[in-house]
Subunit: 106 residues, 2 copies
């Protein structure tokens, strides 16, 4: 059960998805989700203000890139990989091939 | 000879490229350049203010997506396809596979 609004797969828009991915912090979040597991909305090692991070998650969710699940006091976030791959074949692979960790190297 | 500044291929940044592509007008411009020919900076059939269009071209050029060549009073613009494909393999193909003409259908 999802408590937050998520766009349907058929409503995903390429420009919106690219815009959502076009940010170094959001690319880093994407990379961390790429393994397929749910991750915490406050991942370790990111030097980003909580409100800024919350905004990044919102942009990713509203673009249809992520699914957010509320578990107690935590939000768990996962990549909507299958839906994105079906809608925009090759896009995530191309982006993740390049989206190396740029923030954790700082 | 280029009169405008263009980033070097090795300086292209994925987040910047994705952000530049994350706009419906710029996706339409990309699609029009995809055949490989130079196109005019004022392509037909786009209902976009000249100043807005100029800004879109600037964003694409500064991201390293396009090369602008000045010919008399005209600016001719082409896609830096080979450099983008080398730097971000598969990205343009994935984007162009989806970047159908959304503005000319209006």
């Amino acid at each position: 059960m999802r408590a937050l609004n998520h766009p349907r797969a058929e409503d995903l828009d390429l420009a919106t998805v690219l815009h959502a991915l076009g940010d170094p912090v959001r690319l880093e979040l994407l990379r961390r989700m790429a393994a397929g597991d749910e991750i915490s909305c406050s991942p370790e090692g990111l030097i980003v203000a909580r409100s800024t991070l919350s905004n990044h998650w919102r942009i990713l969710r509203e673009a249809g890139i992520t699914a957010t699940r509320i578990s107690g006091k935590t939000r768990l976030i996962s990549l909507r990989r299958a839906e994105l791959d079906a809608r925009f074949p090759g896009l995530l692979n191309a982006v993740l091939g390049e989206a190396t960790s740029i923030l954790t190297e700082l």
